[in-house]
């Protein structure tokens, strides 16, 4: 391969790939006009075109076309001018319309309109912005003369497995791994000699900060200096890779990609609950070297996968990853809730696209992507996946305690425990007798007369006189008043009781769910244990035609979500009852979850059901969100119970649908037919369903009161059995712990989105069936209707044919180890991104990475190389040439000098001063508030100034109250994917190190520790110790002289040593890696 000397970019010629993306037709989805302003022409320059002899389409030509032509002549049909598209060769060489000249005549620049128009002095293309430079014109001219060959965009091409370049035997000493061959070949092509190895101390410092984000222990440095062998280096690498600090360092890199935050921002900065569990999950994943494919899969669809079990507590690890979706911002009172959701989804897809694929998917929200093969249809097809799941919590069961209890409860329930059957006729006899007797004194004789047990009848009479049975709420109240008290013959008594059962029937009602069929009307998705006990399927409706959260046990917790439906009537109705204590119903409109904190505009959509277990008709006024998509949640998050009878929509607030009609047993009462009324009551009570339409469990009060049986013995036995069964269940259930809640995705029904024309939901277009980006994946399976299809989405992202996933991550790892990726635009591998400096090396890394998806292996392979271990000082012979041919050091002749990242700086301050608390994981440390941190949502109290000594990634991430020190050193705001942080260099950073009280405090702590260390016998040894702790490298005699002189010039030794500590913190070497 020839690379010209004037081409200092180390770029190997990309294997020519003439296959164009065969997907052009889907880009042109028939959108018409757009008045949107084009991207300004001068804004886009993907690189300086090379003047080498060979023109490479991707390297030289595409950047010009992208920057200057595609806005009007690219993939986006809606803004295409004159029907000409230059992103496809067919479009460029054929006349845009019959009779016109083609833009390009391959092999003949002079006859090509393209060249003519860009060189037209009077009216040059592009019509706005700077004209093309002479070099750009020359490049295009040469490309056309050479035949105007196109190539697919490099990142869309399959990942190759290039063999490492061979290196002359005498230069083998420069090679440690295959990576070095690629790098060295690039250097040789421009005649650069790589620098020597860095000194052993610098190598260890670099490795320690890169792998665990902390300064190395001086004893480790000393040991390596004494024995800088390859084997020793390997041991160091393994030691750092095995350290828990590894996951903390690399986990934080990942958190940048997923805009990790613990609050929602906006007006009140409401919390994102349980966010930190995802942070710890990320740390564990890196420490366990969870294969990257599984890591991605769990974030997209961990709730749907065969669980990966946490070895420590037996919980489902996989589901925790799905928190990834929900670190977006959130607003509590959007007047346009559909727009609000579509903004949230745009952010979710932005993070998915940029984070996993290096693609700016969200650009296609309003128009086909200007530069990449991503259509609006692709965007809305992806959007459907997000529509089809819901933010929520997963319930976890550390130690499997709940699971074991559920098994015992299920076993217990399956044991025969139903009371003996009592014939309705027999029950009716007692009811009649008790009416006849009325008073205890007559019980005996009437019982004997009718062949009943006198003692049982006496109990009947006593019980019915108890206050509780007289209250209107008691299920037996109608019978107590009308039967026992014989009120049935009085119109005045009858009327108010019967009125309670008369309802106005709403003919307009649409019943969503009545629970009176063997299968429910809506599709329901359970989490936790309350609604299903043990299986994945929700419990079927009970025989009684309701759904209860305590079919096994009321202490079990869980949530049931409905499929998505459309609010096309004005009111949503529920018939529910419950005991409070976590029993709750909720209407979620367009995924709007903030009513948990503030229910403006969503008032009443989330209600506690504390009806003291009486039925209640709940009406939710949905008139503010007509036509919106919604789903329902039945929540039992406490020891209480929740029961739902029916759910319907209607245009009326007060009426009920015909399914909720009068109980049959009440009808005879209307006519005053006492015998028939009693018989119906008896029939209803002893019927196997044990329930009337109104859901009143008539039998239960009888059993509890010892009235269920043909005689007293049988009734006592029935009561005792029930009490015993209850006791057994309590023994199992009472010790149950609350489950652990984890922020997670919950599955919902499959929703396919309409395309929102130009991004506006008020202009819905055709439906975009859920699928992955068409130009990357072919032959995708149809998405399921009963679920989101996220497993298929993850499959497509991880498919071997998708060239992006592995390349993007391999590049990220390189970026973190060198401060710059092989592709510098780490989050954009599309048309506006940069070309890789070493394409073959990138593919080599990606290919290796894909074999086992091991991030540790990838890191291992890089840090074992010579290029990683290089000095930052060029050899004197090379220094001048380096400046001339590779001033940006893209070819890595020397190691780049890097500033430590924000977290590493603060962590180093803690570590060096001895204040570091090395506890891994756990809830965040409350934000320390300074007087400058003001505004709504400010926490009531401040956290400790030193964050309890915890590493920086454990400091609470409040969107509206970011840590000032970390912000000053470029920790990005958590709004979108940031794979490549700013590295700014501003006075505010100096002010932090100079005047921040924490820095002063830590300097003092450090000084005290040094002075108290009896092993340090004199000032010189103290100075030496501090120096090595701060900078790793050995101090010079002069440095020690300066420090000792500084200290001895003062009286107060403690103050002077604190000042030394503070000075060392402010010395530039402290925050730079060389």
């Amino acid at each position: 391969m020839e690379v010209g000397r004037d081409q200092p970019r180390g770029i190997r010629r990309w294997a020519p790939a003439l296959t164009l993306l065969g997907t052009a037709s889907v880009w042109a989805s028939g959108f018409t006009q757009s008045d949107e302003a084009p991207v300004p022409d001068d804004a886009i320059h993907a690189g300086v075109p090379s003047a080498s002899d060979t023109v490479d389409f991707n390297r030289d030509v595409r950047p010009i076309l992208v920057a200057r032509c595609f806005v009007c002549h690219g993939p986006d049909e809606s803004t295409r001018k004159r029907g000409l598209r230059l992103d496809l060769r067919d479009g460029a060489i054929a006349p845009a319309k019959p009779g016109r000249d083609p833009a390009i005549v391959p092999g003949d620049a002079e006859r090509s309109l393209l060249i003519e128009r860009i060189t037209d002095h009077l009216d040059p293309m592009p019509p706005s912005g700077e004209p093309l430079t002479a070099a750009e014109i020359e490049t295009l001219r040469r490309w056309v003369d050479d035949g105007a060959e196109y190539a697919g965009h490099w990142s869309w091409e399959p990942v190759g497995d290039p063999s490492p370049p061979s290196i002359a035997p005498e230069r083998q000493r420069l090679i440690r791994t295959d990576i070095d061959r690629f790098i060295l070949s690039g250097l040789e092509s421009v005649g650069l000699e790589p620098a020597k190895d860095a000194t052993p101390d610098r190598q260890v410092r670099r490795l320690s900060y890169d792998l665990v984000g902390l300064p190395p222990d001086p004893t480790i440095v000393a040991a390596f200096e004494a024995d800088p062998s390859e084997a020793h280096w390997e041991r160091l690498v393994e030691m750092y890779l095995a350290s828990p600090g590894f996951g903390e360092r690399w986990g934080r890199h990942w958190l940048d990609l997923v805009r990790y935050a613990e609050t929602c921002g906006h007006e009140f900065d409401y919390p994102i609950r349980e966010a930190w569990r995802y942070r710890d999950w990320v740390i564990r994943a890196f420490n366990d070297d969870l294969p990257y494919d599984r890591f991605i899969r769990e974030q997209i669809a961990g709730d749907l996968l065969e669980p990966r079990i946490n070895p420590t507590d037996g919980t489902n690890e996989s589901v925790v990853g799905t928190g990834f979706w929900y670190f977006h911002q959130a607003v509590h009172a959007p007047t346009d809730v559909t727009q609000d959701q579509s903004d949230r989804i745009a952010n979710q897809l932005e993070v998915l696209g940029q984070g996993f694929l290096g693609l700016t998917v969200a650009c296609a929200r309003c128009h086909d992507h200007k530069f990449d093969a991503i259509s609006t249809r692709d965007y809305y097809a992806l959007s459907g996946y997000v529509q089809s799941m819901h933010q929520g919590y997963a319930y976890q069961d550390p130690g499997g305690v709940i699971r074991a209890a559920v098994a015992r409860l299920a076993e217990d329930r399956s044991a025969p425990n139903e009371p003996d059957h009592v014939e309705p006729a027999m029950l009716a006899s007692y009811l009649n007798a008790v009416e006849d007797a009325q008073e205890l004194e007559f019980a005996s004789s009437i019982a004997i007369e009718q062949g009943l047990d006198p003692k049982l009848l006496a109990r009947w009479i006593a019980v019915l006189q108890e206050d509780a049975w007289q209250t209107p709420e008691h299920p037996w109240h109608p019978w107590v008043v009308l039967g026992f008290q014989q009120g049935i013959s009085s119109e005045d008594v009858r009327t108010p009781i019967l009125a309670k059962f008369d309802r106005e029937i709403d003919e307009s009602a649409t019943v969503l769910e009545s629970f009176d069929r063997s299968t429910p009307d809506l599709r329901w998705y359970p989490t936790g244990w309350a609604w299903n006990g043990h299986g994945a399927e929700p419990a079927s409706p009970t025989e009684s035609g309701t759904l209860t959260s305590d079919s096994l046990e009321s202490r079990l917790q869980g949530t049931l979500r409905s499929e998505t439906f459309t609010l096309d009537q004005r009111f949503l109705h529920w018939r529910v009852r419950g005991t409070g204590e976590g029993a709750r119903i909720r209407l979620v409109v367009e995924g709007m979850m903030m009513d948990e904190f503030n229910a403006l505009l969503f008032a009443g959509y989330r209600q506690d059901v504390a009806t003291e277990d009486r039925w209640r008709h709940v009406v939710m006024d949905t008139r503010l969100q007509p036509g919106c998509r919604a789903h329902l949640e039945l929540i039992d998050d406490g020891p209480g119970r929740l029961e739902v009878d029916a759910i319907w929509m209607s245009d009326h607030a007060g009426r009920v649908p015909s399914i909720i009609d009068r109980p049959e047993w009440i009808d005879p009462a209307r006519d005053g037919d006492r015998d028939q009324f009693t018989l119906e009551f008896a029939l209803a009570t002893s019927a196997k369903t044990n329930r009337q339409v109104n859901g009143i469990a008539l039998r239960e009060p009888l059993i509890a009161a010892g009235l269920w049986g043909t005689d007293l013995v049988a009734a006592d036995a029935a009561r005792d059995r029930r009490i015993h069964a209850t006791e057994t269940r309590r023994e199992i259930a009472d010790p149950l712990p609350n489950p652990r809640r984890v922020l997670a995705a919950n599955e919902g029904s499959g929703v396919d989105q309409p395309i929102y024309v130009r991004g506006g939901h008020r202009a819905p277009g055709e439906i975009a069936t859920r699928s992955f980006i068409d130009s990357i994946a072919n032959d995708q399976p149809s998405p399921p209707a009963d679920g989101s299809g996220r497993i298929q989405l993850a499959d497509a992202i991880l498919d071997a044919s998708n060239p992006l996933t592995a390349r993007v991550m391999a590049n990220r790892v390189w970026h973190h180890l060198f401060g710059r990726g092989l592709v510098t635009t780490t989050d954009d591998f599309g048309g506006l991104g940069t070309m890789p400096s070493h394409p073959a090396l990138l593919d080599h890394l990606a290919t290796q990475f894909q074999t086992e998806w091991s991030i540790k292996n990838l890191i291992r392979s890089i840090v074992m190389s010579s290029v990683y271990r290089r000095s930052s000082m060029a050899t004197p012979e090379t220094a001048a040439r380096l400046l001339a041919v590779d001033p940006q050091n893209e070819l890595l002749a020397i190691a780049p000098i890097r500033r430590l990242q924000a977290e590493a700086i603060r962590d180093a301050l803690l570590a060096v001063s001895g204040r570091l608390d090395d506890q891994v994981g756990g809830p965040p440390v409350a934000t320390h508030l300074t007087p400058f941190m003001t505004g709504r949502g400010r926490p009531g109290g401040s956290g400790p100034m030193d964050g309890g000594g915890r590493r920086s990634l454990y400091l609470e991430v409040r969107r509206n109250f970011p840590d000032p020190m970390l912000t000053a050193f470029d920790q990005p705001p958590p709004s979108t994917t940031v794979g490549n942080r700013n590295v700014s260099n501003v006075p505010a950073q100096s002010l932090v190190l100079l005047n921040d009280p924490l820095v002063h405090e830590l300097a003092g702590i450090w000084a005290a520790r040094i002075l108290d260390d009896s092993s340090l016998v004199d000032d010189r040894s103290r100075a030496d110790q501090m120096w090595r702790a701060a900078f790793t490298v050995e101090p010079s005699e002069e440095d020690l002289d300066d420090i000792v002189a500084f200290v001895t010039a003062g009286d107060d030794q403690r103050e002077r040593w604190a000042d030394v500590g503070h000075a060392l913190f402010n010395t530039k070497a402290f925050i730079y890696l060389d």
Partner: protein, 482 residues
């Protein structure tokens, strides 16, 4: 190291015409290396790669066109004053007070909408132009000839934070650079010892918090520095050591730095320069924010002797804004003081609330305009007054107004604006902009234009796009410009 506070800051202002970067370098480079100064103003040190990137990724080599304004003062009226109560008189609304509101009402924040609510305040013409201003703003009314009152502002959001992020950053979500950040990113600061983008904290942080002033993906030097009216004005600017002790320490640092520059690296060089600068900022910031040298009459004019404590607070902000403009600060935002119930966000008790808020800001704003004018600074200082949205002409509850994004008023003065005029109109009830509606993007485009920046050409590549303050929107309102 120059440690003399008397000579280490710049009191002079470079008013004369557009200042090119090269000129500026020549003027202020004394004592510093060129590289260091360029790093200070444009310190995205990793980025500066190709000739293209320098133009894109930092301060413009020179403005896109001759600027009319050098600085911007944004008077942020937190919460949203009612347009019909301030600068957009609506006699029809007043006539229909208490009667049913005749137009279709859009969904509001509280969904508690009542009848027509006429304004409790009288309007009178101000200045020679006669632009009507309500009695809430008698001092501002006196300066009516300087004001361009825009009565047809619109916003896509009617929730505070969405609207506020949108007003400050051009996007309804947190995480984009603030307009002040864009201005300093494009033009840098004219004073190396002061931040280019300053927020004067009156006590009320805008809804959405400090993210309204963030730099986001722009270099950190462009973020808004919040100056508080307190002993410590700017975070970490107050030395925690006495000067001698600090200087002793820094001398040691300097010696160690000098010896331990293993490789000559631009980043490390500029970090060293920044430390020197930080040292000087400890003196320049307090100097700029001290009003000890201001005359008694100036203080009185700004209301620093007012009975109402909140007038004093905002008066001090406005006076400081003038001092910062004099010292070359590029963008200054003044936030409102706390007046009790709630900023301008009068969902109830309109009369009491608006009166308190106006009482706090009216006299200081009038004074600011007058003071800038008499010092010849108004010509080159763009003053913008306004909020994230306005208020409904129908009542909320008994005596409040809900948020209204469909039509509201802002005004601009100085900095090339043709004053003494109104622009655009709402309907006769003051509900929706019906004539010449203006978007916030247009305001941003015009603001940048006056600063000499083409809003379509000030971009920063981030996340695969060339980001702009105006996204893909915005048009320069040439009609507004003198």
């Amino acid at each position: 190291m120059n440690t003399d506070p008397q000579t280490s800051h710049h009191c002079g202002r470079f008013i004369a015409g557009p200042t090119s970067r090269r000129q500026m370098l020549r003027q202020v480079a004394g004592g510093f290396g060129l590289a260091a100064f360029s790093a200070l103003l444009h310190e995205d040190s990793v980025a500066a790669a190709s000739p293209y990137r320098i133009a894109r990724d930092g301060m413009l080599p020179e403005p896109h066109h001759a600027p009319k304004a050098n600085s911007v003062i944004f008077l942020y009226m937190d919460g949203g004053p009612g347009q019909m109560d301030t600068f957009d008189p609506k006699p029809v609304l007043t006539d229909h007070h208490g009667q049913p509101f005749p137009m279709k009402k859009e969904v509001t924040q509280f969904d508690s909408n009542g009848n027509c609510l006429g304004t409790p305040w009288k309007f009178s013409p101000g200045g020679t132009c006669g632009t009507p201003v309500s009695d809430l703003f008698p001092h501002v009314r006196e300066m009516a000839d300087e004001l361009l009152v825009v009565r047809s502002m619109t916003s896509p959001f009617n929730e505070h934070t969405n609207a506020n992020y949108f007003l400050h950053t051009g996007l309804g979500l947190a995480g984009r650079p603030s307009m002040g950040a864009w201005a300093t990113y494009g033009l840098g600061s004219e004073n190396r010892n002061l931040p280019g983008f300053v927020v004067l904290d009156g006590g009320l942080t805008p809804p959405g918090g400090l993210q309204c002033f963030g730099n986001s993906f722009l270099p950190a030097t462009n973020q808004g520095s919040v100056l508080r009216p307190a002993e410590e004005v700017l975070a970490n600017v107050k030395p925690r050591d006495d000067v001698d002790r600090q200087r002793r320490k820094l001398t040691l640092v300097e010696a160690l730095d000098r010896r331990n520059r293993t490789a000559s690296n631009d980043q490390i060089e500029s970090a060293i320069r920044n430390q020197e600068l930080a040292f000087r900022m400890q003196f320049s910031v307090p100097e700029a924010t001290s009003i000890d040298g201001e005359s008694e009459s100036t203080r009185r004019m700004y209301g620093l002797d007012a009975e109402y404590e909140q007038t004093k607070i905002f008066g001090r902000e406005c006076l400081l804004a003038r001092r910062l403009v004099e010292r070359g600060v590029r963008f200054i935002e003044c936030t409102c003081p706390q007046v009790g119930a709630d900023r301008w966000d009068q969902h109830g008790k309109l009369k009491e609330g608006h009166e308190n808020n106006a009482r706090a800001v009216d006299q200081p704003i009038g004074a600011l305009l007058k003071d800038l004018k008499q010092r010849g600074l108004l010509e080159t200082t763009l003053v913008i007054w306004g909020a994230e949205f306005g208020r409904t002409p129908f009542s909320q509850g008994a005596d409040g107004r809900d948020h209204n994004q469909y039509g509201f008023s802002m005004w601009l003065a100085g900095g090339g604006i043709a004053g003494g005029r109104t622009y655009g109109a709402t309907d006769e009830y003051g509900y929706k902009a019906v004539d010449q509606p203006v978007e916030i993007h247009d305001l941003h485009a015009t603001m940048l234009h006056l600063l000499g920046i083409d809003h379509e050409r000030l971009t920063k590549r981030f996340g695969g796009r060339d980001m702009r303050l105006t996204d893909v929107h915005g048009k320069v309102m040439h009609d507004w410009i003198a």
